[in-house]
């Protein structure tokens, strides 16, 4: 599978460009040039990749447990807000402040994830629906907080600037590429190992294969669901924290233009493999950053990238049709919004 979906999506995208009476080669050329053509360009691409890797890992790890986390967007916002508050109001030296802010971000995301996890584990509420709703609750709540109690700027609804000791500084001068990217890659590698080599990782995958089998094996399915959603939320939350600590240095509710939704495409393209998420996160980083050059140089609106993203999701979903998504499913219960139902069967 691997490369087929993005290549097909780019191919269909080129027809879209043709229909717009522009030259696909020129457009993709400008995109690639913008994304790779200079040290600054490449560094920006990698900076954009970071958030896709964290959010992609969030969705991927949930998929592995058979859970569909559509809430990475809200978890990212919540994590970013918590990190910004920690960064602005706690004053510590860097070696303490940076881990603290990352932990605050993880906690912010994990809280939202856990709510969805607990409702699913305890009441059988579909995490698809609850995470969608929590996205809006997080966005509106954050917007309210930075417009009122947490407002730290006289000019815009945003928090105060975080301490210098809380900032992640560029590792290449004059770019926005920070240590957040290596951190994201290490996290991906650690998750890959954890899934393969630990009992907890095995339990998570078993629940993803079949909740019934997991139950027979004596695994606490509700426990795994709760822990997975907390971990999934924490990963997205760290992604949000890195946006604040490395790029924006403060929080506003508009900080994510839908990274959490793109991360669904990232995870699907990576077939939920944490190491694959690095590659697919990079693919979407290239698209995201290159789109601006494509728009300014080849006159193709940058929103072409969204169309390509949607096509990637479609092609991946179609290629799985009737195979893995249904084969490993526990017997369908009558209620798809209840625990064993098909809504919750992600790619195993």
């Amino acid at each position: 599978m691997g490369l087929v979906a993005p290549l097909l999506a780019l191919a269909v995208g080129s027809f879209v460009i043709l229909a717009a009476r522009e030259n696909p080669l020129a457009a993709y050329g400008a995109l690639v040039n913008g994304a790779f053509g200079s040290v600054q360009g490449l560094a920006e691409t990698l900076a954009q990749t970071t958030v896709f890797v964290f959010a992609g890992l969030s969705v991927a790890i949930a998929f592995r447990a058979g859970l569909f986390n559509i809430g990475a967007e809200g978890q990212l916002v919540s994590g970013a807000l918590c990190a910004a508050v920690a960064g602005a109001y706690v004053h510590l030296p860097s070696p303490l402040e940076i881990p603290l802010c990352l932990a605050a971000g993880a906690l912010g995301g994990a809280i939202l994830g856990s709510i969805a996890g607990a409702l699913r584990a305890r009441y059988g509420a579909s995490e698809v629906i609850t995470t969608i709703m929590l996205n809006y609750i997080a966005y509106l709540g954050a917007n309210y907080l930075v417009s009122g109690p947490l407002r730290g700027s006289p000019f815009a609804p945003e928090t105060a600037t975080i301490d210098t000791t809380a900032m992640l500084h560029p590792i290449i001068p004059d770019t926005r590429l920070t240590a957040a990217l290596p951190l994201a890659m290490l996290t991906a590698a650690a998750l890959w190992w954890w899934l393969r080599a630990t009992v907890a990782g095995f339990e998570l995958r078993t629940v993803g294969r079949s909740e019934r089998v997991a139950r027979y094996a004596g695994i606490s399915v509700p426990g795994v669901i709760l822990k997975t959603m907390a971990l999934s939320g924490a990963l997205a939350g760290i992604g949000g924290a890195c946006e604040v600590m490395g790029l924006l240095h403060r929080f506003n509710a508009q900080l994510s233009p839908g990274y959490g939704f793109t991360s669904i495409a990232v995870a699907l393209l990576a077939q939920s493999n944490p190491l694959g998420v690095i590659a697919s996160g990079f693919f979407f980083g290239v698209l995201q950053n290159g789109a601006l050059s494509m728009q300014s140089q080849a006159m193709v609106p940058k929103d072409l990238v969204s169309i390509i993203e949607g096509l990637v999701i479609l092609f991946v979903s179609a290629s799985w049709a009737g195979s893995r998504l249904t084969v490993h499913r526990a017997p369908a219960t009558a209620d798809p919004l209840a625990p064993d139902g098909p809504l919750t069967s992600g790619p195993a």
């Binding site: 929103d303 969204s306 049709a321």
Partner: protein
């Protein structure tokens, strides 16, 4: 509060409920046939944009509505094909449709009108009504509101009192039994999904040329997801969903009324989402969807 404020709040309630209602009815019909539609948001964006583009080029509100319906039906066909024929995961396909609908509208907005952000003003329902007076003007100005009310009643009767409607629900509850009884499961699911797409797009058209007279990025603003919530809240039937839409619309209108009263708007805005979580978790009676909702049908 005097009478005029109450009347204004009620009027705004209905106006705010209408786009949710169309998308919600779209969700009701497809989910009753067993296809869950997470892509309502994208279908609304497609409808809202198509209506504006058609009205821009042909200066006709009727053609605008027709184009919106076609755009939604096309996305409905895409969802139907992948969900029913290819048996893909319906949630994933729905998310793809959201991305395609919203991204496609933004792409075309920049391309067709040469300006990102918002389209120019086009001929809208308000312009049509400006030529008339009295009752006729009201009928024309709020044509989509009246049509929405008619559709609720019509769909309730269709689903519960007619043979094709009962068959449609049977297909969503027990597809294999329906097949054994000689009902064409695939045909019903296709028809319901395509109709659902068309309805959601009509809700989008109401937003762009019914409420205002242009398309702007982010205009749908999560209404497709609130509609999804309204379907759950309304227990998957048209009347219940209409009730939920009115309830959510009431909170939108309260927000407007209470803006001066210094009540945090965000907290009121959150309410539909919070209530949906409460409903789906079963705290206020079990919300039970059609039994085969979201399940691919394998004969």
């Amino acid at each position: 509060m005097d009478m005029s404020v109450i009347v204004a709040v009620l009027a705004i309630t209905v106006i705010k409920a209408t786009p949710l209602l169309y998308a919600g009815l779209g969700g009701v019909i497809s989910e009753n046939a067993g296809v869950i539609n997470i892509g309502l948001e994208g279908m609304m964006a497609a409808g809202a944009f198509s209506a504006v583009a058609a009205s821009f080029f042909w200066h006709s509100v009727a053609l605008a509505v027709i184009c919106a319906v076609i755009s939604g039906a096309l996305l409905g066909i895409l969802l139907a094909y992948l969900a029913i024929s290819a048996r893909a995961n319906q949630i994933i396909v729905g998310m793809a449709i959201n991305v395609l609908g919203i991204g496609g509208a933004a792409f075309l907005l920049a391309l067709v009108f040469g300006q990102p952000g918002a389209s120019p003003e086009v001929r809208s329902f308000a312009d049509v009504a400006a030529g008339a007076s009295g009752l006729v003007a009201d009928l024309e100005r709020y044509a989509l509101v009246w049509l929405g009310i008619v559709l609720v009643v019509a769909m309730q009767i269709f689903l519960y009192r007619t043979k094709p409607g009962v068959h449609l629900r049977a297909v969503g509850e027990a597809p294999h039994a329906s097949l054994a009884a000689g009902i064409d499961v695939v045909k019903y699911r296709y028809a319901a999904t395509i109709a659902g797409g068309a309805l959601a797009a009509l809700g989008g058209a109401y937003l762009s040329i019914g409420e205002v007279d242009l398309y702007s990025d982010g205009m749908v603003a999560g209404r497709g997801f609130i509609a999804l919530a309204a379907v759950i809240f309304g227990r998957w039937n048209p009347l219940g969903t209409a009730g939920a839409c009115l309830f959510f619309g009431f909170f939108s209108s309260l927000q407007i009324a209470l803006q001066r009263a210094n009540v945090p708007a965000a907290l009121l805005e959150m309410l539909p989402y919070l209530l949906t979580i409460v409903a789906i978790a079963g705290f206020i009676g079990r919300a039970r969807p059609p039994a085969a909702d979201g399940v691919p049908f394998t004969p």
